[in-house]
């Protein structure tokens, strides 16, 4: 059992700059991450809208952006994927909510290394600015996709955007890796060392477990991507040949020799697959927390949930090759990667089972966070079940690099993770900003978003089955793709409606921040430590008091207890354990 350490304690800052800009307070830093991700998600979403429009009306001339050329489409696609994966799905759940909530949930006054925390945010910010700069340089943003496979990404002459734009893209990712490594160290240390008295590992809320495991994944994965990115920069600018064999581009013999394009794929996916879990694990944690709170029941199988997350993290590092069944890697290794990938489906199924078990025979309260948590489960199931198709090499033959793949990963690591972020926002907003969000707007937002999400991504499975290849800027050149244009048109309309509905969220967010009804300290009648302190929490989180924990995190409906929930800090008594 760790005892709270106080060496890092810092006084509440006075000036505006130290309080809100270069803050050491994990709560402010969490909010900074949240807003960074909020701007990023709007940019990423706008890019996807332009892509959807171009697919259907390739010759349309749009206001501001003008006509979208095929290379522009690919640049939009690359930046959409990169911004969403790094600056939204990695940033909001972990940097945002993890930062804000984790220290409070374990009863700590702040992160273990507040200065490192601040540095980590501002490094992320620099990475973000460098990424956006790629839009504005000569040649524009790169067209090699978020996976950046060389030789396409390694040769300046391979296409527009492969000049300075591609260098900025790689540099930004490298800087982001550094920021994530700093963040990961901080999360791991904080979780291990700063837990309050009585907060044993097995009394930690599942959210804390999810951020903790995510941080471990980040520590192991981002270092590899960082190295891979540096090698790619060397190939591009200093004439090395890590990834590039002898190639001829447009009749011009390049000077590279002997490199392996597959090396990049191995390194990239060694990062890239754990990254999927970096995006989704915090959503699993939040969903568990919310389903238990709003079903007024303990989480079903707490230990199984912890072990499931640990094994997802563990297996997550052994399955990267399932992205490469068609790459030319040894077909024998496909067997190993495939079996291990199927293994990862097991803990995922356990989690789903336990979520249903948590709601079963509960007393479900349908506040907006709960709606989003239920939506998360639905999307997780839908997105998860296309996994066993893609994980079988033999079925991956027709499906690889078709629309079936974006359908799969958008449902599960895209929108399910976003639903986790929405659930977290509606759930912790009262604690973060001291006011309640509007329930009616929240519900309208939820129903349109859930229906819209399915309308966009479910048909993509059918497109994939019919053979619609990914990353095509238009479908006019291949006869069988032309027949799929009506279904694509439907998806574009669904996307327009769903994106429009996101204004409801933003309006609700900002309106409630200033005009929402004041929130009490524990509006959801929840049990974890953040609900024991003031709303919003004071600078040191607990106002000089060090919380002592006596109970597990999800003691709802305890027989014989005075209320239908027992806070973690309630004195030990009765039957609760």
């Amino acid at each position: 059992m760790a005892t709270p350490v106080t060496v890092h304690a810092h006084a509440a800052p006075q000036g505006f700059i130290r309080k809100y800009i270069f803050s050491l307070d994990h709560k402010i830093i969490g909010i900074q991450y949240f807003f960074l991700a909020l701007t990023a998600v709007w940019i990423g979403m706008a890019l996807s809208l332009l892509m959807r429009i171009h697919m259907i009306w390739p010759t349309a001339v749009l206001p501001i952006v003008g006509e979208i050329k095929p290379e522009t489409y690919l640049a939009l696609m690359t930046m959409h994927g990169t911004i969403m994966v790094f600056f939204v799905l990695t940033t909001a759940p972990q940097g945002g909510f993890g930062n804000y909530v984790l220290p409070i949930q374990i009863g700590a006054p702040d992160m273990a290394f507040p200065v490192l925390n601040m540095l980590s945010f501002w490094t992320t910010f620099v990475a973000y600015m460098v990424m956006l700069a790629a839009f504005f340089v000569t040649g524009g943003a790169p067209l090699h996709g978020w996976t950046g496979y060389p030789p396409l990404s390694a040769l300046q002459s391979a296409g527009p955007g492969e000049g300075l734009g591609a260098d900025l893209w790689i540099t930004s990712i490298a800087i982001f890796c550094l920021a994530s490594l700093m963040g990961a160290l901080n999360f791991i240390t904080t979780t291990l060392d700063l837990r309050a008295k009585g907060m044993t590992m097995m009394r930690m809320p599942l959210t804390v477990w999810s951020w903790f495991i995510t941080a471990i994944l980040g520590l192991l994965a981002f270092g590899v991507l960082l190295s891979a990115g540096i090698l790619l920069l060397l190939d591009r600018n200093l004439g090395t040949s890590f990834y590039v064999p002898q190639v001829v581009v447009n009749g011009v013999v390049m000077l590279h020799k002997g490199g392996s394009p597959l090396l990049w794929q191995h390194l990239f996916w060694f990062f890239g697959h754990p990254e999927v879990y970096i995006a989704i694990l915090p959503g699993m944690g939040v969903t568990s927390q919310i389903l238990s709170t709003f079903s007024r029941k303990p989480i079903f199988g707490y230990k199984a949930m912890v072990y499931a997350m640990l094994s997802i993290g563990f297996f997550g590092f052994m399955v990267w090759g399932h992205h490469m069944f068609m790459s030319g890697m040894s077909p024998y290794s496909a067997f190993a990667f495939s079996i291990l990938t199927m293994c990862i489906g097991v803990p995922s199924a356990i989690k789903t089972f336990n979520w249903l078990g948590t709601m079963y025979k509960g007393r479900i309260r349908f506040h907006t966070p709960m709606l989003y948590a239920i939506g998360f489960v639905s999307l997780f199931v839908s997105g998860g079940l296309s996994g066993p198709f893609l994980a079988q090499p033999v079925l991956d033959i027709p499906l690889h690099d078709t629309a079936f793949v974006p359908a799969h990963f958008h449902l599960i690591m895209g929108v399910a993770a976003i639903f986790g972020i929405f659930a977290a926002t509606y759930y912790w907003f009262p604690k973060m900003f001291g006011r309640m969000m509007n329930e009616t707007l929240g519900r309208i937002h939820f129903f349109i978003t859930l229906a819209g999400t399915y309308a966009i991504f479910m048909p993509m499975h059918w497109l994939g089955l019919a053979g619609q290849t990914r990353r095509y800027s238009q479908f006019t050149e291949v006869a069988y793709l032309q027949k799929l244009i009506p279904l694509n048109t439907f998806i574009t309309y669904a996307a327009i409606i769903t994106i429009a509905a996101q204004f409801i969220f933003v309006i609700n967010l900002f309106w409630s921040m200033f005009k929402g009804p004041k929130a009490s300290d524990n509006p959801w009648e929840a049990t974890t430590l953040e609900w024991t302190t003031a709303t919003p929490p004071p600078h040191d989180n607990f106002g000089g008091v060090t919380p002592v924990v006596h109970h597990g995190p999800y003691e709802y409906g305890v027989p014989g207890a005075p209320r239908d929930y027992v806070m973690q800090t309630d004195p030990a008594a009765g039957t609760a354990h």
Binding site: G328, F335, T469, Y472, D564
Partner: protein
């Protein structure tokens, strides 16, 4: 609220299931030997995953509605879970997922681990921004040398793949922009790329394989139905990726021989 949620989740589930079952949009008709086995494994996976999908989604909607908080709701069942159920669930899922995987393995193995038939037609497929070229070794059964210094994509044909015409083995090599294959005969494919990664995808054959610079990847397929099939590039290869399109003509052995002879004649 619970009812609205139930209705929406059920509606989404049933509509999705309908379109999967009705096969409104589906794989094109299979036209190669492997297609039958792949499609069978597909169907099996669809049925099993479909059952799980329906059970989980309909169950989720039902539970959300059934256990909504009402004045009349009984106290919740205070329980931290059920280890026996967890174990049953874990074992069932493991058997289902891993079993499915093993069932599909022989098809994968057959296409990749066994060598092509001795009498297979040899075809070399070369991908470059943004075209496919097909090379037949001619009567000598040997591909002539290629040289990167001779590559001239703008000239097309032999020059595009950099065929070294000084090499005797290259004399009878035929390079075309359209692929011709005889029906019901195995094809020994060599896949190459000269600039960036491309992917040779023929949906009708259930065939896809990346063509990677620096590698020469051997695969074999056996087309079984005479007809014309589209090739689409399936790996992002640059701004013209969407138009990197080609055609495969599967013809009778007789027509294939005639076609090849005519190409040889053109060369002389």
């Amino acid at each position: 609220m619970g009812l609205a949620l139930l209705l929406l989740i059920w509606l989404i589930t049933l509509l999705s299931t309908y379109f999967f079952v009705a096969k409104t949009w589906w794989l094109p008709a299979g036209a190669a030997a492997a297609a039958h086995w792949i499609d069978q494994q597909f169907a099996l996976t669809f049925v099993l995953m479909g059952i799980v999908f329906l059970a989980a989604q309909l169950g989720l909607g039902y539970i959300a509605w059934r256990y909504r908080e009402q004045a009349s709701s009984p106290p919740v069942a205070y329980s931290h879970g059920n280890t026996k159920l967890e174990i049953i669930w874990t074992v069932l899922t493991a058997v289902l997922f891993i079993g499915l995987n093993l069932m599909g393995a022989p098809v994968w193995a057959h296409e990749r681990f066994a060598a092509a038939d001795a009498n297979a037609v040899q075809v070399e497929v070369t991908g470059m921004q943004f075209a496919w070229y097909f090379r037949y070794p001619g009567a000598d059964g040997k591909y002539g040398k290629t040289n990167v210094k001779l590559m001239d994509p703008s000239a097309g044909g032999e020059a595009a793949v950099g065929l070294d015409t000084a090499d005797p083995a290259a004399k009878d090599d035929v390079v075309t922009g359209t692929m011709y294959l005889p029906v019901n005969r195995e094809v020994d494919l060599s896949l190459r790329a000269v600039d960036v990664i491309h992917s040779f995808f023929v949906p009708g054959f259930r065939f896809k394989q990346d063509a990677v610079p620096g590698l020469n990847i051997h695969m074999h397929i056996k087309p079984t139905v005479i007809g014309e099939y589209e090739i689409a590039c399936a790996e992002l290869c640059g701004l013209g990726h969407y138009k990197m399109h080609g055609m495969v003509h599967v013809v009778s052995q007789e027509d294939f021989d005639k076609w090849l002879a005519a190409r040889e004649a053109e060369k002389q």
